[in-house]
Protein backbone atom coordinates (compact mmCIF):
# COMPACT_ATOMS: atom_id res chain seq x y z
CA UNK A 1 0.00 0.00 0.00
CA UNK A 2 1.50 3.29 -1.09
CA UNK A 3 1.61 6.09 1.43
CA UNK A 4 -0.39 9.21 0.60
CA UNK A 5 1.91 12.02 -0.27
CA UNK A 6 3.72 13.47 2.70
CA UNK A 7 6.72 15.64 2.03
CA UNK A 8 9.80 17.07 3.66
CA UNK A 9 9.67 20.83 3.14
CA UNK A 10 12.34 21.90 5.60
CA UNK A 11 15.74 20.30 6.16
CA UNK A 12 18.77 21.85 7.77
CA UNK A 13 21.78 21.04 9.90
CA UNK A 14 23.34 23.21 12.55
CA UNK A 15 25.17 26.21 11.14
CA UNK A 16 28.42 24.63 12.24
CA UNK A 17 29.37 20.96 12.47
CA UNK A 18 32.30 19.39 14.24
CA UNK A 19 33.52 20.91 17.48
CA UNK A 20 31.00 23.41 18.86
CA UNK A 21 31.85 24.01 22.53
CA UNK A 22 29.92 27.29 22.60
CA UNK A 23 26.52 25.58 22.20
CA UNK A 24 24.88 23.21 24.63
CA UNK A 25 23.00 20.17 23.40
CA UNK A 26 19.56 21.75 23.53
CA UNK A 27 20.81 24.79 21.62
CA UNK A 28 22.14 22.47 18.91
CA UNK A 29 18.54 21.24 18.51
CA UNK A 30 17.35 24.84 18.38
CA UNK A 31 20.05 26.01 15.95
CA UNK A 32 19.10 23.29 13.46
CA UNK A 33 15.37 23.84 14.00
CA UNK A 34 15.67 27.59 13.46
CA UNK A 35 17.63 26.99 10.24
CA UNK A 36 14.96 24.59 8.97
CA UNK A 37 12.12 26.93 9.95
CA UNK A 38 13.85 29.88 8.28
CA UNK A 39 14.30 28.14 4.95
CA UNK A 40 10.59 27.45 4.68
CA UNK A 41 9.40 30.63 6.32
CA UNK A 42 7.82 29.14 9.43
CA UNK A 43 7.56 30.46 12.95
CA UNK A 44 6.95 28.42 16.11
CA UNK A 45 3.18 28.99 15.98
CA UNK A 46 3.11 27.32 12.56
CA UNK A 47 4.44 24.03 13.94
CA UNK A 48 1.87 21.68 15.51
CA UNK A 49 3.87 18.47 15.85
CA UNK A 50 7.24 17.78 17.48
CA UNK A 51 9.42 14.69 17.57
CA UNK A 52 12.87 14.23 19.04
CA UNK A 53 15.15 11.70 20.73
CA UNK A 54 17.57 11.73 23.68
CA UNK A 55 16.07 15.02 24.85
CA UNK A 56 12.32 14.81 25.49
CA UNK A 57 9.84 16.45 23.12
CA UNK A 58 8.64 18.41 26.15
CA UNK A 59 12.02 20.10 26.49
CA UNK A 60 12.31 20.87 22.80
CA UNK A 61 8.71 22.08 22.39
CA UNK A 62 9.08 24.40 25.36
CA UNK A 63 12.50 25.66 24.34
CA UNK A 64 11.34 26.46 20.79
CA UNK A 65 7.96 27.88 21.81
CA UNK A 66 5.86 25.22 20.11
CA UNK A 67 2.34 24.17 21.16
CA UNK A 68 1.97 20.71 19.62
CA UNK A 69 -1.15 18.65 19.02
CA UNK A 70 1.10 15.64 18.38
CA UNK A 71 4.35 14.55 20.04
CA UNK A 72 6.72 11.62 19.54
CA UNK A 73 9.60 10.87 21.89
CA UNK A 74 10.69 7.57 20.35
CA UNK A 75 14.30 7.24 21.45
CA UNK A 76 15.84 4.02 20.22
CA UNK A 77 19.27 5.32 19.24
CA UNK A 78 20.55 6.88 16.06
CA UNK A 79 17.70 5.71 13.81
CA UNK A 80 15.11 7.38 16.03
CA UNK A 81 14.81 10.16 13.44
CA UNK A 82 13.93 7.74 10.63
CA UNK A 83 11.23 6.38 12.89
CA UNK A 84 10.07 9.92 13.71
CA UNK A 85 9.72 10.61 9.97
CA UNK A 86 7.68 7.43 9.61
CA UNK A 87 5.42 8.31 12.54
CA UNK A 88 5.13 11.91 11.36
CA UNK A 89 4.04 10.80 7.90
CA UNK A 90 1.36 8.61 9.43
CA UNK A 91 0.26 11.42 11.76
CA UNK A 92 -0.07 13.90 8.90
CA UNK A 93 -2.10 11.40 6.89
CA UNK A 94 -4.32 10.77 9.90
CA UNK A 95 -4.84 14.48 10.47
CA UNK A 96 -3.20 14.51 13.90
CA UNK A 97 -0.91 17.36 12.88
CA UNK A 98 -0.26 19.47 9.80
CA UNK A 99 3.33 20.65 10.18
CA UNK A 100 5.76 18.48 12.10
CA UNK A 101 9.26 19.35 13.26
CA UNK A 102 11.81 16.60 13.94
CA UNK A 103 14.93 17.76 15.76
CA UNK A 104 18.29 16.31 16.71
CA UNK A 105 21.15 17.97 18.55
CA UNK A 106 24.07 16.33 20.26
CA UNK A 107 27.12 17.66 21.98
CA UNK A 108 28.85 14.34 21.35
CA UNK A 109 32.38 15.72 21.34
CA UNK A 110 32.28 18.77 23.61
CA UNK A 111 29.68 17.23 25.94
CA UNK A 112 28.08 20.51 26.92
CA UNK A 113 24.68 20.13 28.53
CA UNK A 114 24.02 16.55 27.52
CA UNK A 115 22.56 14.02 29.91
CA UNK A 116 25.03 11.29 30.99
CA UNK A 117 24.63 7.88 29.39
CA UNK A 118 25.04 4.94 31.71
CA UNK A 119 23.97 1.32 31.87
CA UNK A 120 22.13 0.47 35.10
CA UNK A 121 23.78 -2.60 36.71
CA UNK A 122 20.34 -4.14 37.25
CA UNK A 123 19.40 -3.96 33.55
CA UNK A 124 19.91 -7.03 31.41
CA UNK A 125 22.87 -5.31 29.72
CA UNK A 126 24.21 -4.35 33.14
CA UNK A 127 23.97 -7.93 34.38
CA UNK A 128 24.90 -9.92 31.32
CA UNK A 129 27.20 -7.73 29.19
CA UNK A 130 28.82 -4.94 31.18
CA UNK A 131 30.72 -7.24 33.58
CA UNK A 132 32.81 -8.53 30.66
CA UNK A 133 34.54 -5.24 29.96
CA UNK A 134 32.84 -3.42 27.09
CA UNK A 135 33.25 0.33 26.79
CA UNK A 136 30.51 1.65 24.58
CA UNK A 137 29.75 0.98 20.93
CA UNK A 138 33.32 0.35 19.64
CA UNK A 139 33.53 -2.72 21.87
CA UNK A 140 29.96 -3.99 21.39
CA UNK A 141 28.73 -3.09 17.91
CA UNK A 142 31.80 -4.88 16.60
CA UNK A 143 31.32 -8.18 18.46
CA UNK A 144 29.37 -10.01 15.71
CA UNK A 145 31.81 -9.21 12.90
CA UNK A 146 34.32 -12.08 13.25
CA UNK A 147 31.41 -14.47 12.81
CA UNK A 148 30.32 -12.61 9.65
CA UNK A 149 33.90 -12.68 8.33
CA UNK A 150 34.27 -16.39 9.00
CA UNK A 151 30.94 -17.34 7.47
CA UNK A 152 31.56 -15.45 4.23
CA UNK A 153 35.34 -15.47 4.03
CA UNK A 154 35.50 -11.67 4.23
CA UNK A 155 38.88 -10.15 5.11
CA UNK A 156 39.68 -7.12 7.21
CA UNK A 157 41.23 -5.55 4.10
CA UNK A 158 37.84 -5.76 2.40
CA UNK A 159 36.14 -4.10 5.36
CA UNK A 160 38.78 -1.37 5.26
CA UNK A 161 37.71 -0.65 1.66
CA UNK A 162 34.43 0.66 3.06
CA UNK A 163 36.37 3.40 4.87
CA UNK A 164 38.50 4.21 1.82
CA UNK A 165 35.52 4.61 -0.51
CA UNK A 166 33.59 6.75 1.94
CA UNK A 167 36.59 9.01 2.35
CA UNK A 168 36.47 9.58 -1.41
CA UNK A 169 32.93 10.87 -1.02
CA UNK A 170 33.95 12.99 1.96
CA UNK A 171 36.64 14.58 -0.19
CA UNK A 172 33.87 16.13 -2.28
CA UNK A 173 32.11 17.60 0.74
CA UNK A 174 33.42 20.87 2.21
CA UNK A 175 31.58 20.22 5.50
CA UNK A 176 33.10 16.76 6.03
CA UNK A 177 35.36 16.46 9.07
CA UNK A 178 37.91 14.18 7.36
CA UNK A 179 38.56 14.90 3.66
CA UNK A 180 42.06 13.69 2.85
CA UNK A 181 42.19 10.47 0.81
CA UNK A 182 43.18 7.30 2.66
CA UNK A 183 44.28 3.83 1.57
CA UNK A 184 43.56 0.35 2.92
CA UNK A 185 47.10 0.45 4.31
CA UNK A 186 46.29 3.67 6.19
CA UNK A 187 43.21 2.05 7.71
CA UNK A 188 45.14 -1.05 8.76
CA UNK A 189 47.95 1.06 10.21
CA UNK A 190 45.60 3.10 12.41
CA UNK A 191 45.42 2.33 16.11
CA UNK A 192 43.75 -0.92 17.18
CA UNK A 193 40.55 -0.21 19.12
CA UNK A 194 38.81 -3.58 19.36
CA UNK A 195 40.27 -6.26 17.10
CA UNK A 196 39.56 -6.50 14.23
CA UNK A 197 38.46 -2.84 14.35
CA UNK A 198 41.00 -0.06 14.03
CA UNK A 199 40.43 3.64 14.59
CA UNK A 200 39.60 4.50 10.97
CA UNK A 201 36.95 1.75 10.91
CA UNK A 202 35.10 3.56 13.72
CA UNK A 203 32.94 6.66 13.40
CA UNK A 204 33.91 10.17 14.31
CA UNK A 205 32.82 11.83 17.52
CA UNK A 206 31.58 15.35 16.83
CA UNK A 207 28.99 17.97 17.78
CA UNK A 208 26.05 18.99 15.64
CA UNK A 209 22.38 18.77 14.94
CA UNK A 210 19.73 18.62 12.26
CA UNK A 211 16.04 19.26 11.80
CA UNK A 212 13.34 18.26 9.35
CA UNK A 213 9.91 19.77 8.72
CA UNK A 214 7.19 17.63 7.20
CA UNK A 215 3.79 18.46 5.82
CA UNK A 216 1.31 17.13 3.27
CA UNK A 217 2.18 17.29 -0.42
CA UNK A 218 -0.88 19.44 -0.89
CA UNK A 219 0.36 22.08 1.54
CA UNK A 220 3.93 21.73 0.26
CA UNK A 221 2.97 23.75 -2.81
CA UNK A 222 2.82 26.84 -0.62
CA UNK A 223 6.40 26.41 0.59
CA UNK A 224 9.43 28.02 -1.07
CA UNK A 225 11.49 24.82 -0.92
CA UNK A 226 11.48 21.91 -3.38
CA UNK A 227 9.34 19.20 -1.77
CA UNK A 228 10.84 15.78 -1.15
CA UNK A 229 8.22 13.03 -1.11
CA UNK A 230 8.13 10.08 1.26
CA UNK A 231 7.42 6.94 -0.75
CA UNK A 232 7.84 4.27 1.88
CA UNK A 233 8.91 3.73 5.46
CA UNK A 234 9.79 0.90 7.82
CA UNK A 235 10.86 0.36 11.41
CA UNK A 236 11.68 -2.41 13.87
CA UNK A 237 13.66 -3.29 16.99
CA UNK A 238 15.46 -6.47 18.00
CA UNK A 239 17.45 -6.54 21.24
CA UNK A 240 19.29 -4.12 23.54
CA UNK A 241 22.04 -6.77 23.91
CA UNK A 242 24.24 -7.37 20.90
CA UNK A 243 25.10 -10.78 22.36
CA UNK A 244 21.45 -11.78 21.92
CA UNK A 245 21.08 -10.99 18.21
CA UNK A 246 19.36 -13.89 16.49
CA UNK A 247 21.98 -13.99 13.75
CA UNK A 248 25.45 -12.44 14.04
CA UNK A 249 25.70 -12.06 10.27
CA UNK A 250 22.47 -10.15 9.73
CA UNK A 251 20.20 -7.72 11.59
CA UNK A 252 16.61 -8.80 12.16
CA UNK A 253 15.59 -5.15 12.59
CA UNK A 254 17.16 -4.34 9.19
CA UNK A 255 15.36 -7.28 7.60
CA UNK A 256 12.01 -5.98 8.87
CA UNK A 257 12.42 -2.22 8.38
CA UNK A 258 14.01 -2.29 4.92
CA UNK A 259 11.63 -4.58 3.07
CA UNK A 260 8.62 -2.92 4.74
CA UNK A 261 9.70 0.40 3.24
CA UNK A 262 10.34 -1.09 -0.21
CA UNK A 263 6.97 -2.81 -0.21
CA UNK A 264 5.18 0.39 0.72
CA UNK A 265 7.07 2.40 -1.89
CA UNK A 266 6.33 -0.20 -4.54
CA UNK A 267 9.84 0.04 -5.96
CA UNK A 268 12.59 -2.49 -6.57
CA UNK A 269 16.26 -2.25 -5.59
CA UNK A 270 17.11 -1.41 -9.19
CA UNK A 271 15.02 1.75 -8.96
CA UNK A 272 17.28 3.22 -6.26
CA UNK A 273 19.56 6.05 -7.41
CA UNK A 274 21.11 6.94 -4.07
CA UNK A 275 21.57 5.09 -0.81
CA UNK A 276 22.46 6.02 2.75
CA UNK A 277 23.29 3.24 5.23
CA UNK A 278 24.09 4.43 8.74
CA UNK A 279 27.78 3.66 9.20
CA UNK A 280 28.76 3.98 12.83
CA UNK A 281 31.35 1.29 12.03
CA UNK A 282 32.73 -0.04 8.76
CA UNK A 283 30.74 -3.27 8.81
CA UNK A 284 27.33 -1.60 8.84
CA UNK A 285 27.16 -0.89 5.09
CA UNK A 286 27.92 -4.59 4.53
CA UNK A 287 25.06 -5.75 6.73
CA UNK A 288 22.79 -3.06 5.28
CA UNK A 289 23.47 -3.86 1.63
CA UNK A 290 22.73 -7.53 2.29
CA UNK A 291 19.77 -7.16 4.65
CA UNK A 292 18.08 -4.65 2.33
CA UNK A 293 18.53 -7.01 -0.60
CA UNK A 294 20.88 -4.94 -2.76
CA UNK A 295 23.35 -7.84 -2.93
CA UNK A 296 23.23 -11.51 -1.98
CA UNK A 297 24.58 -12.76 1.35
CA UNK A 298 28.31 -12.38 1.73
CA UNK A 299 28.69 -10.29 -1.43
CA UNK A 300 28.63 -6.78 0.03
CA UNK A 301 32.36 -6.42 0.65
CA UNK A 302 33.19 -7.43 -2.91
CA UNK A 303 30.44 -5.14 -4.21
CA UNK A 304 32.06 -2.18 -2.42
CA UNK A 305 35.63 -3.18 -3.33
CA UNK A 306 34.55 -3.30 -7.00
CA UNK A 307 33.61 0.39 -6.62
CA UNK A 308 29.88 -0.03 -7.17
CA UNK A 309 29.20 2.38 -4.29
CA UNK A 310 32.10 4.77 -5.01
CA UNK A 311 31.92 8.01 -7.00
CA UNK A 312 30.92 7.01 -10.51
CA UNK A 313 29.54 3.64 -9.35
CA UNK A 314 26.03 2.36 -10.03
CA UNK A 315 24.83 2.62 -6.43
CA UNK A 316 26.24 5.76 -4.75
CA UNK A 317 26.38 5.08 -1.01
CA UNK A 318 26.94 7.46 1.91
CA UNK A 319 27.71 10.36 -0.37
CA UNK A 320 28.28 12.84 2.46
CA UNK A 321 31.23 10.72 3.66
CA UNK A 322 29.13 8.98 6.30
CA UNK A 323 29.63 8.62 10.00
CA UNK A 324 33.16 7.44 9.23
CA UNK A 325 34.25 10.72 7.60
CA UNK A 326 31.47 13.35 7.54
CA UNK A 327 30.34 13.65 11.14
CA UNK A 328 28.90 11.48 13.90
CA UNK A 329 27.52 13.09 17.02
CA UNK A 330 26.35 9.78 18.52
CA UNK A 331 22.91 9.57 16.92
CA UNK A 332 23.89 9.92 13.28
CA UNK A 333 20.56 9.09 11.62
CA UNK A 334 19.55 12.72 11.23
CA UNK A 335 22.62 13.46 9.08
CA UNK A 336 21.89 10.51 6.79
CA UNK A 337 18.36 11.87 6.34
CA UNK A 338 19.73 15.35 5.60
CA UNK A 339 21.98 13.96 2.86
CA UNK A 340 19.09 12.04 1.28
CA UNK A 341 17.01 15.22 1.25
CA UNK A 342 19.90 17.23 -0.24
CA UNK A 343 20.31 14.63 -2.98
CA UNK A 344 16.59 14.75 -3.75
CA UNK A 345 16.64 18.55 -3.80
CA UNK A 346 19.62 18.42 -6.15
CA UNK A 347 21.87 20.48 -3.87
CA UNK A 348 24.26 17.91 -2.35
CA UNK A 349 27.99 18.72 -2.53
CA UNK A 350 28.51 15.37 -4.27
CA UNK A 351 25.25 15.51 -6.19
CA UNK A 352 24.20 12.38 -8.10
CA UNK A 353 22.99 13.72 -11.48
CA UNK A 354 19.36 12.93 -12.15
CA UNK A 355 18.80 11.03 -8.90
CA UNK A 356 15.08 10.48 -8.31
CA UNK A 357 14.90 7.92 -5.50
CA UNK A 358 16.97 7.86 -2.31
CA UNK A 359 16.87 5.15 0.36
CA UNK A 360 17.95 6.15 3.85
CA UNK A 361 18.54 3.28 6.26
CA UNK A 362 19.32 3.73 9.93
CA UNK A 363 20.45 1.66 12.87
CA UNK A 364 19.88 2.35 16.54
CA UNK A 365 21.87 1.08 19.50
CA UNK A 366 24.08 -1.88 18.63
CA UNK A 367 21.82 -3.52 16.02
CA UNK A 368 19.03 -2.81 18.53
CA UNK A 369 16.71 -0.89 16.22
CA UNK A 370 16.24 0.20 12.64
CA UNK A 371 14.32 2.67 10.51
CA UNK A 372 14.19 3.02 6.73
CA UNK A 373 12.84 5.94 4.68
CA UNK A 374 12.50 6.00 0.91
CA UNK A 375 12.43 9.50 -0.59
CA UNK A 376 11.73 10.81 -4.07
CA UNK A 377 11.75 14.21 -5.71
CA UNK A 378 8.82 13.14 -7.88
CA UNK A 379 5.27 12.95 -6.58
CA UNK A 380 4.13 9.35 -6.07
Amino acid sequence: MRQKAVTVVGAAETTELGVIPNLSQIQLHADAALNAMAECGLRPKDIDGIATAAETPVQIAHYLGITPTWVDGTSVGGCSFMIHVRHAAAAIEAGLAKTILVTHGESGKSRVGNPPRSVPPSSLQGQFEQPYGPMGPPSLFTVPVLRYMKRYGVTVEQIAEVCVVQREWAGKNPRATFRNPITVEDVLASRMIAYPFRLLMCCLVTDGGGALILTSAERARDFPTRPVYILGTGESVETPMVSQMEDFTSSRAFRVAGPTAFQQAGISRNDVDHLMIYDAFAHLPLYGLEDLGFVTRGEAARFIAERNTAPGGKLPLNTNGGGLSYMHSGMYGMYALQESVRQMRGIAPAQIPGAKISVCHGVGGMFAASGTIIFSNEAP
Binding site: V119, P120, P121, S122, L124, G126, Q127, F128, E129, Q130, P131, Y132, G133, P134, M135, P138, S139, L140, T142, V143, P144, V145, L146, R147, K150, R191, M192, I193, A194, Y195, P196, F197, M241, S243, Q244, F248
Partner: protein, 141 residues
Protein backbone atom coordinates in the same frame (compact mmCIF):
# COMPACT_ATOMS: atom_id res chain seq x y z
CA UNK B 1 41.18 -11.24 35.53
CA UNK B 2 39.73 -10.95 39.01
CA UNK B 3 40.77 -7.39 39.54
CA UNK B 4 38.81 -4.87 41.55
CA UNK B 5 36.80 -2.28 39.70
CA UNK B 6 35.05 -4.37 37.09
CA UNK B 7 31.36 -3.51 36.55
CA UNK B 8 29.27 -6.00 38.49
CA UNK B 9 25.70 -7.12 37.98
CA UNK B 10 22.93 -6.17 40.34
CA UNK B 11 20.53 -9.15 40.39
CA UNK B 12 16.80 -8.61 40.18
CA UNK B 13 14.07 -10.96 41.44
CA UNK B 14 13.83 -12.43 37.94
CA UNK B 15 17.56 -13.13 37.62
CA UNK B 16 18.49 -14.07 41.19
CA UNK B 17 18.43 -17.81 40.43
CA UNK B 18 21.14 -17.31 37.80
CA UNK B 19 23.48 -15.50 40.19
CA UNK B 20 22.70 -17.95 43.01
CA UNK B 21 23.71 -20.63 40.52
CA UNK B 22 27.08 -19.16 39.57
CA UNK B 23 27.81 -18.70 43.27
CA UNK B 24 27.10 -22.40 43.75
CA UNK B 25 29.23 -23.38 40.75
CA UNK B 26 26.30 -24.00 38.39
CA UNK B 27 25.41 -22.38 35.10
CA UNK B 28 21.62 -22.20 35.22
CA UNK B 29 19.41 -21.80 32.16
CA UNK B 30 15.66 -21.91 31.78
CA UNK B 31 13.46 -24.15 29.69
CA UNK B 32 9.83 -23.57 28.77
CA UNK B 33 7.68 -26.42 30.07
CA UNK B 34 5.11 -25.72 27.36
CA UNK B 35 7.16 -25.46 24.16
CA UNK B 36 10.56 -26.77 25.26
CA UNK B 37 12.49 -23.64 24.29
CA UNK B 38 15.76 -23.16 26.20
CA UNK B 39 16.52 -19.48 26.68
CA UNK B 40 18.76 -16.80 28.13
CA UNK B 41 18.87 -14.15 29.63
CA UNK B 42 16.62 -15.11 32.54
CA UNK B 43 12.96 -14.16 32.76
CA UNK B 44 10.04 -15.95 34.42
CA UNK B 45 8.20 -16.69 31.19
CA UNK B 46 8.87 -17.94 27.69
CA UNK B 47 9.32 -15.21 25.06
CA UNK B 48 8.63 -17.78 22.33
CA UNK B 49 5.17 -18.83 23.51
CA UNK B 50 4.31 -16.58 26.52
CA UNK B 51 3.96 -19.51 28.92
CA UNK B 52 4.74 -18.75 32.56
CA UNK B 53 5.41 -22.45 33.16
CA UNK B 54 9.19 -22.53 32.97
CA UNK B 55 11.91 -24.48 34.77
CA UNK B 56 15.44 -23.70 35.83
CA UNK B 57 18.04 -26.37 35.07
CA UNK B 58 21.79 -26.75 35.27
CA UNK B 59 23.47 -26.38 31.90
CA UNK B 60 26.41 -28.53 30.86
CA UNK B 61 28.79 -25.58 30.83
CA UNK B 62 30.04 -26.67 27.42
CA UNK B 63 30.09 -24.14 24.62
CA UNK B 64 31.87 -23.00 21.50
CA UNK B 65 33.45 -19.60 20.89
CA UNK B 66 30.95 -17.77 18.68
CA UNK B 67 32.51 -14.33 18.16
CA UNK B 68 34.60 -11.72 19.95
CA UNK B 69 36.61 -8.53 19.84
CA UNK B 70 39.96 -7.98 21.53
CA UNK B 71 39.62 -4.73 23.39
CA UNK B 72 42.66 -2.46 23.42
CA UNK B 73 41.39 0.37 25.60
CA UNK B 74 41.56 0.56 29.38
CA UNK B 75 38.44 -0.42 31.29
CA UNK B 76 38.23 -0.62 35.08
CA UNK B 77 39.12 -4.11 36.21
CA UNK B 78 40.73 -5.21 32.95
CA UNK B 79 44.24 -5.23 31.52
CA UNK B 80 44.06 -4.69 27.77
CA UNK B 81 44.21 -6.37 25.40
CA UNK B 82 41.43 -8.71 26.47
CA UNK B 83 38.69 -10.48 24.57
CA UNK B 84 35.03 -9.61 24.98
CA UNK B 85 33.49 -12.81 23.73
CA UNK B 86 30.17 -14.44 22.98
CA UNK B 87 29.91 -18.20 23.40
CA UNK B 88 27.19 -20.49 22.12
CA UNK B 89 26.19 -22.92 24.83
CA UNK B 90 25.65 -26.59 24.01
CA UNK B 91 22.00 -26.06 24.99
CA UNK B 92 21.57 -23.33 22.35
CA UNK B 93 21.56 -19.87 23.94
CA UNK B 94 24.47 -17.49 23.54
CA UNK B 95 26.00 -15.34 26.26
CA UNK B 96 28.67 -12.70 26.58
CA UNK B 97 31.70 -13.61 28.65
CA UNK B 98 35.49 -13.48 28.80
CA UNK B 99 37.82 -16.29 27.74
CA UNK B 100 40.38 -17.11 30.43
CA UNK B 101 43.45 -19.40 30.60
CA UNK B 102 44.15 -18.51 27.00
CA UNK B 103 46.31 -15.91 25.22
CA UNK B 104 44.15 -12.98 24.18
CA UNK B 105 45.21 -13.17 20.56
CA UNK B 106 43.45 -13.92 17.25
CA UNK B 107 45.70 -16.95 16.86
CA UNK B 108 44.68 -18.49 20.17
CA UNK B 109 41.03 -17.45 19.97
CA UNK B 110 39.62 -19.48 17.09
CA UNK B 111 35.92 -19.27 16.36
CA UNK B 112 34.08 -22.54 17.03
CA UNK B 113 36.74 -23.82 19.43
CA UNK B 114 35.25 -25.70 22.39
CA UNK B 115 35.19 -23.87 25.70
CA UNK B 116 33.87 -24.69 29.14
CA UNK B 117 32.54 -22.61 31.98
CA UNK B 118 34.62 -21.64 34.99
CA UNK B 119 33.36 -19.58 37.86
CA UNK B 120 35.23 -16.58 39.14
CA UNK B 121 34.21 -15.10 42.46
CA UNK B 122 34.08 -11.29 42.47
CA UNK B 123 32.37 -10.55 45.79
CA UNK B 124 30.48 -12.52 48.40
CA UNK B 125 27.35 -12.02 46.31
CA UNK B 126 28.59 -12.16 42.75
CA UNK B 127 30.42 -14.90 40.87
CA UNK B 128 30.82 -14.49 37.11
CA UNK B 129 30.65 -17.30 34.57
CA UNK B 130 33.79 -17.16 32.41
CA UNK B 131 34.94 -19.69 29.83
CA UNK B 132 38.27 -21.37 29.09
CA UNK B 133 39.43 -23.55 26.21
CA UNK B 134 38.03 -27.02 26.83
CA UNK B 135 40.99 -28.87 25.35
CA UNK B 136 43.53 -27.44 27.76
CA UNK B 137 44.06 -29.82 30.67
CA UNK B 138 43.99 -27.86 33.87
CA UNK B 139 44.20 -28.86 37.48
CA UNK B 140 40.79 -28.73 39.09
CA UNK B 141 40.66 -25.43 40.95
Amino acid sequence: MAEPGRALPQPTPETQHFWDGTKAGELRLQRCDACGKVYFPPRPFCAACASRQVSVFQASGRAILWSYVIHHRKVAGFNPPYAIAVVQLAEGPRMMTNIVDCPQTPEALQLDMPVEVVFEKQTDDITLPLFRPAFVPLAKG
